[in-house]
């Protein structure tokens, strides 16, 4: 089936089998390997991407479902070489250990902060409850999200 998708604001056309999952389309067809393929059972969230701006688990979405829609992956989060506030937060707060969950955490966290610019710790923990960190490094992930929230507010008020 022929699909037309915008990926990271680049329109593209591809011919795919209906059973191809979005995560494999992104990684294997487009070669965007920043999106990770983890549990394959919609539990771990390593494959999180934005579909029309909302975070979804791309292992549980058909690529054909994204036909005519907008997909953003971790590669589309920074503006060129400039890290996004949340990416910067992960670096500043040591928000990653092995790094496998990081792209998914950043996709979920980015969408979350857009809707909840001033989150409590409990809200952050709920927001990332669909993203699992096998290193169990949640403390610093929460700090990274909070760092990004504060940084974004400073930028707004500056």
């Amino acid at each position: 089936m022929r699909i037309e998708i915008s990926v990271n604001q680049q329109p593209l056309v591809a011919e795919v089998e209906p059973r191809l999952l979005l995560v494999h389309f992104i990684r294997d067809v487009l070669g965007l390997t920043g999106t990770h393929w983890g549990c394959d059972t919609s539990n771990c969230g390593a494959c999180t991407v934005h579909l029309d701006g909302e975070p979804v688990k791309s292992c549980t979405v058909l690529a054909v479902r994204a036909n005519g829609h907008e997909v953003t992956t971790i590669e589309g989060i920074s503006a060129g070489a400039d890290l996004s506030p949340l990416q910067e937060g992960f670096r500043a707060e040591h928000g990653l250990q092995c790094g496998f969950c990081t792209p998914g955490m950043i996709m979920t966290g980015t969408a979350f902060l857009k809707n909840t610019p001033n989150p409590s710790e409990a809200e952050i923990r709920t927001a990332i409850s669909g993203n699992l960190c096998r290193c169990t490094g949640y403390e610093n992930i929460v700090k990274a999200v909070r760092y990004a929230a504060e940084k974004s507010r400073e930028e707004v008020s500056a």
Partner: protein, 287 residues
């Protein structure tokens, strides 16, 4: 790597078109809404539909939550997230506001739909139990037009409903808002299916329980209604001893299986405890 078996893919852009596609492709076709139950089952090859009819483009027709003169109407494509964000639900249908945060996780709730959750008929799913307590009816449309099914008549077995293969669920209706309602669940970890869950919706009159409905999830081969427990509660003044007797009745009405979430006696015990918790919360909310 889990990959679904091959299937043909169709997209419906109206409800009428979805019904026509169902008619054309017959019983081996399946509707795909949020896909967060169907796609995992297809990946495990527990489901191998020959044709998948994607209905996500029906949002314009089927994604809404509205109050229609006291009747709550939820379009079948309303997402779990929409329920959580609805001020109307938060104000009058707290059982749903209780249940929703325990369902999977925020990412799944962005995709999962109410129609999908109810028609998938997983006996451990939360929304069916909550809607049994609310006494809703579901609206389905097929080649012969529209009909409503009372939720008490919807579930006939695990993953099995009285919706005909050619029909599509379009709406969930709650004819009368409860005076108060609550949902309580025990789960092993965040976002897990219920080890056991119980929801109540009630009306009080002069200090006694005038009317009550109870739904239970995860403790039988279908979502269950605890009718005997309802009879225990009706006409009585709320209190711990009454909840204990109702919990005992409900425990006797369920038929849990042994699995990773516990043994049947353990799950029955959860039902006894959950009855007290849900009733206490609901009665408190009548104040």
């Amino acid at each position: 790597m889990q990959v679904p078996a091959r299937f043909d893919y169709e997209v419906a852009s109206t409800v009428e078109e979805a019904i026509e596609l169902l008619r054309r492709h017959g019983p081996e076709a399946r509707l795909l809404a949020g896909g967060h139950s169907l796609i995992p089952m297809m990946k495990l090859r527990l489901a191998s539909p020959e044709v998948v009819i994607d209905i996500h483009e029906l949002d314009d027709e089927l994604r809404y939550i509205q109050d229609d003169g006291g009747t709550l109407r939820i379009g079948a494509l309303a997402r779990h997230r929409d329920i959580l964000e609805s001020p109307l639900i938060r104000e009058r249908y707290t059982i749903l506001t209780d249940a929703e945060p325990t369902i999977a996780d925020p990412l799944v709730r962005n995709m999962g739909t109410i129609g999908g959750a109810l028609s998938h008929a997983d006996p451990a799913e939360d929304l069916p139990a909550a809607f049994v307590a609310l006494g809703c009816e579901v609206v389905v449309r097929g080649p012969d037009g529209e009909r409503t099914i009372a939720i008490d008549d919807l579930y006939v077995g695990p993953y099995e409903t009285t919706i005909e293969p050619g029909e599509i669920m379009t709406e969930v209706r709650v004819p009368r808002a409860p005076q108060a309602s609550a949902y309580s669940k025990v789960e092993r970890k965040a976002g897990d299916y219920a080890s056991a869950a119980l929801g109540v919706a009630l009306h009080m009159s002069g200090g006694t329980i005038e009317d009550v409905r109870i739904g239970m999830g995860g403790v039988g081969s279908t979502t269950l209604r605890a009718r005997r427990a309802e009879e225990v509660l009706k006409g009585e003044r709320p209190g711990e001893e009454l909840y204990r007797r109702a919990g005992e009745a409900a425990a006797g009405e369920c038929d849990p299986i042994e699995d990773a979430r516990g043994t049947p006696p353990y799950k029955r015990d959860l039902v006894r405890v959950l009855m007290g918790r849900a009733m206490e919360k609901a009665v408190e909310r009548t104040a």
